[in-house]
Structure formats: structure tokens, C-alpha cells
Amino acid sequence: MTTALALAGCSTNSDSGSGSTSGSKNLTVAGWADDAVMKAVIAQFEKDNPGVKVKLTGYPWPAILTQINTQLVSGTAADVNVVFPGNGNPITAQTLAKGKYLADLSSESWASNFNEATKNVMSADGKVLMVANNSTIIPATYNTQALKAIGKTAPTTWSQVLDLCSAAKAKGKVAYAMAGLAGGTFNYLPYALTATLVYGPNPDFSAQQAAGKATFSDSEWTTALTKYQQMLKAGCFTKDSLGTSLDVAQKQVATGDALGIVTVSNQIVDIQKDAPSGTTFETAALPATDDPSQTVLPVGLGAGYGVNAKGNVALGKKFLDFYMSKKGMGVAVKAGSIFPSTTVEGFKPAPALAGVSDQVRSDKTAAFPDQTWPNANLTQVYQDELQKLLGGQASVKDVLAAMDAAYKG
């Protein structure tokens, strides 16, 4: 293991990690495995730029985190790489900025299409380092037929959420599928609750926390996690959720054994794949209060791409310009069910996302909290502590105290 660490760490940066040189017509892209959207964008880019060859290498989650990070550090990375906004994992804009691995994209024309809050999570030290053509949403996704079967509709108030849990339980079902195994969905539901309780009412909460004027413990995070615990005790979640994998939880919603699930929107496609023919799905923001007008939807910039500062920067920037262009966005929207990060004329969301599409464009949204957290360790501590909360080994107070300690680093 020591050797593995050393091999990963001892390499030096080369002038051209991917073998591409400035002015070359060859471009390498490190993206997601089986990413139909990126494949379509690349095909169109090559068509529009005769002579240009783009080689795409796909990595699955979560291997992509360590693969791209290690390649950038060791100088063997592609010219264009998957980069996440904000902080919180090894390939975010702010993590990679520490080693100056990403080219400055501030002067690209698309940069002005994003508001300041979004630009902040795309940037570090005042430089825009990544861009994404998609937004990720955390709605509650419901199996429409399963809801109808118990005579309910998607809840719009907190009381209705608890009522749905009771009604589902009475029919031998669960209201919300929950994957508590690592890599599951257990960490998303508190994000949905804090959007309404913390980050919606106080958009400056992250800034106040950074300035040392706010903590998790002394905030509405306490209410959010107490409500999470209340849902657990009310039997809203999959039984033995800590042993349930993502795959199993998705199947529960697909088959109607669970009425819904609170998870990131890009998982809806996977749920639909497992569903019997004729099953339809709908989305709504998860309420956290009894006033529907207060409900805020978590919407974050999705995973995007950055240009390797040691790679073929000129062609990499040209590629991202196309990726963010009207034509490139059009190709992406047509190829997959993404929710575009900027306005695309004539865009129609996938039917399952129709319920939240208007709210995504409204001011009733809040960014994902982890995108503004100061270190990746806090995300890990949050997940570990949340599992302890689900297993009854930690109280809300314990969880938030551990998160406050991790925030300080």
C-alpha cells in the first residue's frame, strides 16, 4: 500500500500529460463511462471541425474520482477532464485549484451566462475552472401508479409527508425507498430538508459559516435532522435501510414497493429502466414545513468539465466552447435527459421532471450544501455520522458536533 501511495504521488508533471501539444488536432477527454450525451457532443464537434480527433475515455463512479485526480497530479491526465463544482471530492474545481492543474476559463463567452452564486462554485481564487451543461436536482421522485393505488398524491406539506408514510405502511409499502449502504441515497434527503429550512431562508448561511458566524449545531440543520429522524421513526424508509444498496432501493421505487425516493435527478433514468412497462414517474420538491410556499428545491450545478492546464489548452477550450454553445447544448439535450444549466430555447424537460422544471428556474432553489463546504473530509464525516443516526448510534447533536469539528478541519 505504501508503494501504491508512492507511485501515485512521486510522479512529476509533464509538459503535456496526454501527449497532446498546443496546436495539435488531437484531443483527449476523460469522462463518464457510457455517457451518451458526451459521445453525441464529441461526434458533432468532430463533424464541425474536420481533422480534429477526440478520444474519450470513460470512468465509472466512484473510480472516476481517484483516476482523474491521480492522473492530474502525476501529469498523465487527458486534455479535458470531468470536474465537479465547489469542494467536497478529489476532482472539484476548488480541490484541483490547489495544484494549479486547471486552465483559467474566465474569459470564455459562456462564463457570463451564470449568476454569481453558480460562478463561485465553478471557480477558485477568482478564476473560472470548470463548466457544466447540466443542473442536478434533488426532488422527491414518485411512482405515479403506486401513489394512485393508495389514493394519495405527492405531498406538498410536512404533515402530508408523514401522512403518506402512515398510508404506505398500512398498505405494506414504504413511502420513501432509502439506500443506506455507502454509495446509496441516505445523504440526499437532509439536503432536501435543509434547502427549505436552512439555505432557502438564509442564502448567506455558507458565507456566515465561513466567517465563523454560524455553525451546523446552532442552525436549522438541527430541525432538518430531527425531521429526518422523525421520518425514520415513522417508518417512512425502507426497512433495514443501512443494509440496502442503491440498486435495491431504485428497484423498490421502480416496482412500486416504495412510493418514492429522494435522490439526485440523474438517477431517475436508472429507476425507469427497472420499471415495468407503462409505469410513469413524477417529481416534486420535498416539503419540510406546512406552508407549501416555503418549500425550496435543491438545485446544483452538475458535474462538468475543466481543461488540463498542462494539456492541449487551446483545443480543450474550443471544445468546451462548443459544449456550452447553443448547438452543443441542443445536441446534449437531444441525446440524454439532462436538465440544462443555462436557458435553452425550446427545451422540454423529461416528463418525470416536469413537476419541478418551473421551480428550477425560479428563486425557490438552493445550492447543494456540500458544494460550499471547505474540505472533502466534511462530506465523509457527514455521511458516516448520518449512517450512525440511521443506525441509532448517534444523536442529532452528535452528528452536527462532528460536522462542526470537520468543518474547522
Binding site: 500500500m1 512521486c10 455507502a182 440496502t244 448510534q393
Partner: protein, 308 residues
């Protein structure tokens, strides 16, 4: 007249056995050199370099790092997660070593008999060894799910009360992982014991039987001492494997729930490659290396003494 076989006229002594040995040893070193250089380049230099990161504050990404002495090592022993991981690693290493070898030996004794299906059984018990650990992890993650096959079988045979949240209950998960590791590698121990058993001459066993030794006495006074080399290699391999355990844990639980199944290896991976704490990971890797070296040296000495 001098011939080529004449002794040297200078009065120099003829090359003695020691000098011939030195010359032979020197020539052998030349043969070893290419492989040794490659080994040094690929293993020793990176290992030393990696160990040095443990004395810095490098986060794995930044272009700067500072020398911080033993700070990372102190933080390991101040951190609850690291201590849990060390405790888990020791538990896994000791339990796997003892149970895997005990079961492996019993199976080896069984399939070394004259039963008709012995060849089929040998293949059956060895089969999990050839499956990759990642595949084994995913397979058992499904089998151990709350509604998975194991709980279904327990329910169907009337043992529903024994159903567990195998990977979700922090008190059970570590034992579930240990059981999976033993299931996977018990065939490996079996094969080594079987090779040892087949090296014991039948005459010796038969002579002991004629002298009135029963199966237990025959095993304890004849088979067991003659299996000492097999014990040495089996205990060493399973102990080192237990200390380094990573794949099965990472696939099945990623160290969860709440860090309850983290091992030193999973923490090294998380710290170094996921959490931006490369030097912490390097310090843990050094600690793991020392554990493995110390345990192996101790075990080797003890067993060698017994063998001698």
C-alpha cells in the same frame, strides 16, 4: 618447462575455497543486478518516497508541502476512526488466521481421505479462491441484503429469528465481512494443507495405527508435526492477507455503516485518494507496514522454533 597447469611462479598462493566462493558470489551479483535494479526502481524507491510523505502535510494535490515530523502519526492515535480501523484490522487478521486455517485443515483432512467425491470436493472448496475479490464482494453484498438470499433461506427453513441486517448493523457487519473472507480463502489454506498431508508417507501413519495410536493421537503426534511447514506458510499468508484486507470491505460497505467496518487499508485509500489527506494516508500505510512486518517476524520466529 612450465605448463598451463603449473602453479603461479610468483609464489602467490593458489585460490582457496573462500576466494573461489567470493568470486562466485560476485558473479552471481551481476546476474541479480538487473532484477534488483528494477525492483529498487519499482518498489523500494517509491516505498521510501511514499513513507517520507508521512512526515509532511501534503494533501495529495497542492504543489507545496511542509515537513511536520511525527504529527501525522500522533493524529492517527488521536483519531477515533483510525483507532476503530486499527482495532478492526487486528480483529480481522487474527480471526481470519485462526478460523480460516482451522476450517482449511479440517477440510484438507476430509478430502485427503478415500471418499469417492474427494476430487469434486477439492475443486468445490477451492473454487471461491479463483473468483476476484471484487466479484465476491458484489456477490455477497446481494446475498447479505436485508431481503437477500441468506435471510430468505433462514426464513424458509424456519429460522426467521436469525435474520440479520448483515451489512447494515454495525455490530454484525464486521463479522459478516470476516465470514465472507474466510469463505473465499478457506480453499487456499486447504490446498496447502492437502499438499502437506500428501507428503506424509502412509507407512508412518500405518505403523502408528499398528502400535495402537487412535486418529486423534495419530494427528497430534505424527500429522501435526509433519505439517509444520504448511502451517508456517498458511499462517503467514492469512495473517498478512488479513492485515491488508481492502477489496471485500470496500465493495460491500466502503467501511460503513458509520466507519464500523473500516480497516487500515480502507482508511489509507480514503485519506490518500478521496479526502485530500495524502500524508495521513501515508502515515497509516507506514503503520500498516510495521504491523505486518512485526507480526510476520514474530510468527516466523515462533513457528521456526517449533519446527526446529
Amino acid at each position: 618447462m612450465a605448463t598451463s597447469t603449473d602453479p603461479a611462479p610468483t609464489g602467490a598462493p593458489a585460490p582457496g575455497p573462500r576466494r573461489r566462493y567470493r568470486s562466485y558470489a560476485q558473479s552471481v551479483w551481476w546476474f541479480v543486478l538487473p532484477a534488483a535494479a528494477l525492483y529498487a526502481f519499482a518498489v523500494i524507491v517509491p516505498a521510501v518516497q511514499g513513507s517520507l510523505f508521512a512526515f509532511t502535510d501534503w494533501d495529495g494535490v497542492s504543489s507545496v508541502k511542509h515537513w511536520v515530523g511525527l504529527r501525522q502519526f500522533r493524529s492517527i492515535f488521536d483519531d477515533t476512526n483510525s483507532l476503530t480501523a486499527i482495532k478492526n484490522t487486528l480483529l480481522i487478521a487474527v480471526t481470519v488466521t485462526v478460523v480460516q486455517n482451522a476450517i482449511g485443515l479440517l477440510i484438507a483432512l476430509g478430502v485427503n481421505s478415500q471418499i469417492k467425491s474427494r476430487n469434486f470436493l477439492r475443486v468445490l472448496f477451492f473454487a471461491p479462491v479463483v473468483i476476484t475479490s471484487i466479484a465476491v464482494g458484489f456477490l455477497w453484498q446481494n446475498l447479505l441484503a436485508p431481503e437477500g438470499a441468506l435471510n430468505q433461506v433462514l426464513k424458509n427453513i424456519g429460522l426467521g429469528g436469525m435474520r440479520q441486517n448483515w451489512l447494515g448493523d454495525p455490530k454484525v457487519a464486521i463479522w459478516a465481512i470476516i465470514a465472507v473472507v474466510i469463505w473465499q480463502f478457506v480453499g487456499y489454506s486447504m490446498v496447502i494443507f492437502l499438499a502437506g498431508l500428501q507428503g506424509i508417507p502412509d507407512e508412518v501413519i500405518e505403523a502408528a495405527a499398528i502400535d495402537g495410536a487412535g486418529p486423534v493421537r495419530r494427528f497430534w503426534y505424527i500429522v501435526r508435526p509433519m505439517l509444520a511447514p504448511a502451517f508456517t506458510i498458511n499462517l503467514m499468508l492469512s495473517l498478512i492477507g488479513g492485515f491488508k484486507l481492502f477489496d471485500q470491505v470496500f465493495v460491500m460497505t466502503q467501511g460503513g455503516p458509520g466507519g464500523a467496518t473500516d480497516t487500515i487499508s480502507t482508511l489509507i485509500y480514503k485519506d490518500a485518494f478521496q479526502l485530500g489527506r495524502f500524508s495521513n494516508g501515508a502515515a497509516l500505510a507506514v503503520v500498516l507496514t510495521l504491523f505486518v512486518a512485526a507480526a510476520s517476524a514474530f510468527q516466523y520466529r515462533m513457528i521456526s522454533k517449533n519446527e526446529g
